[in-house]
């Protein structure tokens, strides 16, 4: 037994601090919440406007464009059919909306952050330990501040997902830009490129394979948060898995779990295909 005299609690202070934050910055959290839910609504209503066969067609065409193989395009296009056959289509669309929103916001903030890290050494030395911290943190931990700030539902789910999934795209954007050969950059400078032209014409295009790999990893991380986020009340495939665990309903758990896997495979294949297209020697 650990001696009782040494017991010391910080829970009270943490709660006080969070309360203070919520009080002092309630306007800030409200507007963050409002903008997340705005993006979520826009994407959600867009997604539900598309008929089911629209998705099949879209996935098929995209898969063909990136891989140029009929067999893999047909295979990938038929995968989502299985989700529909399990009767989980609408829930899958809900999940997709959360993921796409989170990934969109992740990239929207992550890519510029990565560029900043690559351009300014100080920014990198500040960001690196933060990113290290973010990546060692178990995903569940993000639920606590998300729930505190934004309550229950999809908005905190998007928030937790986006925080959890942002590090890879930041890291790989930074890495990709820093790996652009010095000789190529030097040539551009010799011909009178300004800093901005160097970034736009040389550094970002040559970093594209890495940035695309970062986008792919970020998307995969976002998918990994699906089940976790159901714990703060985000409706979707994740919640079905959670419910099945609680009810010990292995069959239903398998169906919803498998549907998540299908989403993951389809998204992974397509984003990876795009990443490959950016490799310069493949063109």
């Amino acid at each position: 037994m650990f001696p009782e005299v040494l017991e010391f609690h910080v829970a009270g202070y943490v709660n006080d601090f969070i309360n203070w934050l919520l009080h002092s910055f309630s306007g800030g959290f409200d507007s963050i919440s409002a903008s997340i839910s705005y993006v979520l609504m826009a994407i959600g209503s867009g997604l539900s406007a598309i008929p089911w066969w629209g998705y099949i067609l879209f996935v098929g065409v995209l898969a063909w464009v990136v891989n140029k193989k009929i067999s893999s395009a047909v295979f990938l296009a038929l995968m989502p059919m299985i989700i529909g056959m399990f009767g989980l289509w609408d829930l899958a669309i809900d999940t997709l909306a959360v993921i796409i929103t989170a990934v969109f916001l992740s990239l929207f903030m992550g890519i510029p952050t990565g560029i900043l890290m690559a351009q300014i050494d100080r920014a990198r030395s500040i960001m690196t330990p933060i990113l290290d911290g973010m990546q060692t943190m178990p995903s569940f931990v993000y639920l606590i501040p998300a729930m505190m700030f934004f309550g229950l539902g999809k908005v905190p789910a998007v928030f937790a997902t986006l925080i959890y999934s942002m590090p890879p795209v930041i890291r790989l954007t930074n890495l990709g830009i820093r790996q652009v050969p010095k000789a190529t950059q030097e040539a551009a400078l010799a011909y009178g490129a300004t800093k901005w032209q160097l970034l736009k014409e040389v550094r970002i295009p040559l970093a594209m394979p890495n940035i695309m790999a970062g986008i792919n990893q970020t998307t995969m991380m976002a998918l990994a948060m699906v089940v976790v986020c159901s714990m703060i009340g985000a409706r979707g495939l994740g919640q079905e898995v959670l419910l099945s665990i609680n009810r010990i309903d292995v069959g239903h758990g398998f169906e919803s779990g498998f549907s998540i896997v299908i989403l993951a495979i389809v998204i992974d294949r397509i984003t990876q295909g795009f990443a490959r297209r950016w490799e310069p020697n493949k063109r």
Partner: protein
């Protein structure tokens, strides 16, 4: 007449954190040479290049040639000294002025080509014009002419990765000449190519130069190349210029052991071509002082 390039007492000391070094301080320079923290790459180089001449800088690996040529357009910041290009003090330019200077006055060809892998040959050639803001139609027209000049018209829509080394360097040269800059800076442009192609590229450069009359600052570690191309040359050792003059003079009267070792093989070659060594060399020296650049090049080309 205003000199094309005039370099006075140029120093470059590479240090860990780009600190300022007082190069006047002899003791400091000696201590830097010993320490591992800093490298003195260029030490007190002065030279002038006349308009329209091909000036070759030759030296062994690590003698500071690349550093020197990069200082001219400040891809590397010189530690001290001054550089004037057509009377304009390059070291005094601010960022905007420097960008302008690089766009208008100089064009550079690199040993490792420095082409953009995600751009086609045509786009690569027009890259400098694009940076300048030349309109698409004009820059494509001009780039096509430049590609024609280097004989790569058929390849304009290929990516650099599908070209051979020699062809890539032709793209590099086209990218430089399309800029219409008075000064061409070339840092070992042919060193990565095999001997036959290298020879071909040298001939091509000579041919182009006959029409262009640019001022060419050419870096090489190959004596043959220096002799074929150069109107005048400087031999660099350990950051210093140890001898400067017409190639023939340097061949005939090497200033020290270092230069002598450099030209030794060449002298032997000439010796074999003609039994009497001294006569042959004095012949070249005489010629090079009398004849014009291109004739001299032709003659040496025949001998070797």
């Amino acid at each position: 007449m205003v000199e094309a390039i005039e370099i006075r007492d140029l120093w470059k000391v590479y240090t860990k954190n780009d600190q300022d070094i007082d190069v006047e301080d002899q003791d400091l320079v000696t201590s830097l040479d010993k320490s591992e923290e800093a490298v003195v790459a260029v030490r007190g180089v002065s030279l002038t290049v006349n308009p329209g001449e091909v000036f070759v800088v030759m030296g062994l690996s690590g003698s500071g040639k690349s550093t020197l040529i990069r200082c001219i357009l400040r891809l590397i910041e010189p530690t001290s000294g001054s550089i004037n290009v057509f009377g304009e003090d390059v070291t005094a330019l601010d960022e905007k002025g420097l960008t302008e200077f690089r766009r208008e006055k100089t064009a550079m060809v690199f040993q490792h080509y420095g082409l953009l892998p995600h751009r086609t040959v045509l786009e690569n050639v027009s890259f400098g014009l694009k940076l300048k803001g030349v309109l698409l139609k004009e820059r494509l027209e001009r780039s096509k002419v430049a590609l024609e000049l280097v004989g790569l018209s058929k390849w304009e829509n290929y990516y650099p990765s599908s070209l051979s080394g020699g062809m890539r360097q032709r793209v590099g040269i086209a990218r430089a000449i399309v800029m219409n800059s008075p000064i061409l800076l070339m840092d070992e442009p042919f060193s990565g190519l095999d001997p036959l192609i290298r020879r071909e590229m040298q001939d091509e450069l000579i041919r182009l130069q006959e029409d262009m009359h640019k001022t060419i600052f050419f870096v090489t570690h190959d004596l043959d190349e220096a002799m074929r191309l150069g109107d005048r040359m400087a031999v660099m050792k350990n950051g210093k210029i140890v001898q400067m003059g017409a190639p023939g003079e340097i061949l005939a009267n090497p200033a020290d052991d270092y230069v002598a070792r450099f030209v030794q093989d060449k002298r032997k070659q000439l010796q074999m071509a003609d039994g009497d060594n001294s006569k042959k060399i004095s012949l070249i020296t005489d010629n090079s002082s009398k004849e014009t650049g291109s004739e001299k090049k032709g003659m040496i080309g025949n001998v070797s």
